[in-house]
């Protein structure tokens, strides 16, 4: 029974990472109808920047803050410089561009920081927590991961719902021409959307790197699983992204625990395949209308 609890709680913690990546993908998809294949690469890069700051100042939280800030900036800059010119071109161009960005960021990281696996500190202790003498099966850091992502998701949701900027962002995502007619500066909103996605991606990066180590390709598999979570939840649904991440994280945790850890990647891919076959629009978005 303890194993079950451990696996569940551990799965929730990892699932939140997938949820964070999924959330950034959904944000960008809703705003610009582009799937950002570079999302993992961006997160990796901002985590390297955080590591630099941590090593330089000795403060984890300084690095944490810098990671988030650079995620914000990186996302905004990428949208403005690289994505904006591609917005009126065929969608395939944007896919190639984000793949190119991914490749560039990984190469750049290799040049600047080298390819070796680096350790990245965790925010809190990674030893298991105990209540009295009973082991809970999670560490303080696991709890922090879950809380941090949840807080970010809730803040984002609140921002979308209750602020003027959030309303403008949603209008720009749903109907750019109409939003323009109402005075919304759609371009700026798109930049904001990408900046927010960059922020959340950066958060995912610093939260997951303690366990995966940091190297140029370290976020590749996280990205694939985050994408899977986004598809499971529905690319149009932020709540679905979080739910999808949790479902995937817990399911994979059970697979790893009960069936063997080498089956985890295959199971993840199988999950994606099943969702795509059965309900491509995801579990939580309204079923896509069929044409004709």
């Amino acid at each position: 029974m303890t194993e079950f609890r451990e696996l569940t709680l551990g799965g929730i913690s990892v699932g939140m990472i997938y949820a964070a990546i999924a959330l950034s993908l959904v944000l960008i998809w809703r705003a610009t109808r582009i799937l950002n294949y570079a999302q993992g690469g961006m997160a990796m890069f901002t985590t390297y920047i955080a590591l630099l700051v941590i090593n330089h100042t000795g403060s984890y939280w300084a690095g944490f803050a810098v990671a988030l800030a650079s995620g914000l900036v990186l996302g905004g800059v990428i949208e403005r410089l690289v994505i904006r010119p591609a917005e009126n071109k065929p969608p395939l161009n944007a896919i190639i561009i984000t793949i190119g960005l991914l490749v560039f960021l990984e190469g750049l990281a290799g040049i600047l920081y080298g390819g070796q696996f680096r350790s990245f500190p965790a925010a809190f202790s990674i030893t298991g927590l105990h209540v009295g003498s009973a082991a809970l099966g999670v560490s303080a850091n696991d709890v922090f991961v879950a809380v941090a992502v949840l807080a970010a998701a809730l803040l984002l949701a609140a921002g979308f719902r209750y602020t003027s900027a959030g309303l403008q962002l949603r209008a720009s995502a749903f109907s750019p021409p109409v939003a323009r007619l109402l005075g919304v500066r759609v371009g700026r909103m798109l930049t904001l959307g990408w900046a927010l996605a960059g922020l959340i991606g950066a958060l995912a990066g610093v939260l997951v790197s303690p366990s995966t180590f940091l190297y140029p390709n370290s976020m590749d598999s996280i990205f694939v699983l985050g994408f899977t979570a986004a598809v499971i939840g529905g690319l149009d649904s932020p709540a679905g992204a979080v739910a999808g991440g949790l479902i995937l994280g817990v399911a994979l945790s059970y697979v790893g625990g009960y069936l063997g850890s080498d089956l985890v990647p295959l199971f993840g891919l199988a999950a994606l395949a099943v969702v795509l076959m059965v309900r491509p629009s995801g579990l939580f978005s309204p079923a896509a209308t069929r044409q004709v």
């Binding site: 560039f104 994408f227 149009d236 990647p265 004709v292």
Partner: protein
């Protein structure tokens, strides 16, 4: 007649390539062979993405299928090379049919995601089954055929073999693109609903496109196995699949000459950049990453400045001459070809619509 023109062009190119390969070093021969393998794969992919409008991030997996099939047939059954190549092509084509049917309903990023799974999952299958040589892979050795003489350079034979297959593939695809199938693909790509209403079986066309591109990839994989002499999971990563797509887009989506340009870039640019880096005395970790970073930059910059790819640029520059050259199938028109992802239902087609 189109067929005659295509064959004639191919024949001329064949003679040219024979001359080139006979005069250059074995290393260049090897590079020619590599480029030719990729031309076969990229040509199939450019037909799938450019003409049929379906994106695939997983053609590297079909290359793996073809490569492993060829390796196993050569090693265990000792079939003649020509038969092996056809068999590898057929096996990969069958795989393409399966994927095509499974993915027939998917569009846009969902299709990309599904094919991405394929690219990620398939190589790891090789690791599970001992027959496939596991991590180390399988070694494949071929000899230059007897009729060319005992001392005929192996690399030159590999160059001839691969270039010959590439030319044959290009001719066949060129004819296919010009045929009714090609026109149906383009119609379904541009407006699926209209095409269906006009009586085209869109699903079958989509599967057919997958089969064709998988067959090409399978042949390319088999040729690559024979050229590099080794077939291992590490040779068929997601990076390869992405590289193929990149080459297709870079060269000019939907254009066959574009497949050639793209393959040249795919093979030659990384080597060139590494050479430049090491000649400047940069460390190996920096040096090995410079081509990677440069590759990404090239992708982004080309897509932003020349979205029609290299062939689009060539086409534009040679427009005064165009009336005298044969028209290439799928040459860029005013509206860039490419899959059109569905716009969300609430979006009004306000701007730019009459």
């Amino acid at each position: 007649m189109t067929l005659v023109r295509h064959v004639a062009t191919a024949a001329v190119l064949a003679v040219l390539l024979v001359i080139i390969s006979s005069t250059v070093s074995p290393f260049r021969d090897y590079q020619m062979a590599e480029v030719a393998c990729y031309v076969v794969a990229v040509a199939g992919l450019t037909v799938l993405v450019g003409l049929s409008g379906q994106i695939s991030l997983g053609n590297g997996a079909f290359m793996a299928i073809g490569a492993y099939a060829a390796a196993l047939l050569l090693l265990h059954l000792h079939w003649p090379l020509a038969v092996v190549l056809v068999a590898a092509l057929a096996v990969a084509a069958a795989g393409g049919a399966v994927v095509g049917v499974a993915a027939a309903r998917l569009r846009g990023p969902y299709l990309a995601g599904a094919t991405l799974i394929l690219a990620v999952a398939l190589p790891s299958l090789a690791l599970r089954y001992g027959l496939l040589g596991g991590d180390q892979g399988l070694t494949v050795v071929i000899n230059s055929p007897g009729f060319l003489g005992p001392s005929f350079s192996l690399t030159r034979w590999q160059a001839w073999l691969t270039c010959g297959c590439a030319l044959i593939t290009l001719v066949l695809l060129a004819n296919l693109a010009r045929s009714r199938v090609g026109r149906s693909w383009r119609a379904a790509r541009d407006d699926e609903v209209a095409a269906a209403l006009a009586g085209l079986n869109v699903a079958r066309l989509r599967v057919l496109a997958f089969v064709v591109s998988a067959a090409c990839a399978g042949l390319a994989g088999a040729l690559l196995a024979v050229t590099t002499s080794i077939v291992s999971p590490g040779a068929f990563t997601v990076t390869l699949s992405i590289g193929l797509l990149t080459a297709a887009v870079l060269g000019g989506l939907g254009t066959l000459p574009g497949a050639v340009w793209g393959s040249l870039v795919l093979v030659l640019v990384p080597t060139y950049v590494t050479d430049v880096a090491s000649s400047h005395g940069l460390s190996s970790s920096v040096g090995s990453n410079i081509p990677v970073a440069a590759y990404g930059v090239v992708l982004v910059v080309v897509m932003l400045t020349f979205p029609d790819g290299i062939q689009g640029g060539v086409h534009r520059l040679s427009r005064p001459l165009a009336s005298r050259l044969p028209a290439w199938p799928g040459a860029p028109r005013r509206r860039p070809p490419g899959p059109q992802f569905r716009a969300p239902a609430s979006e009004h087609q306000e701007e730019g619509s009459l």
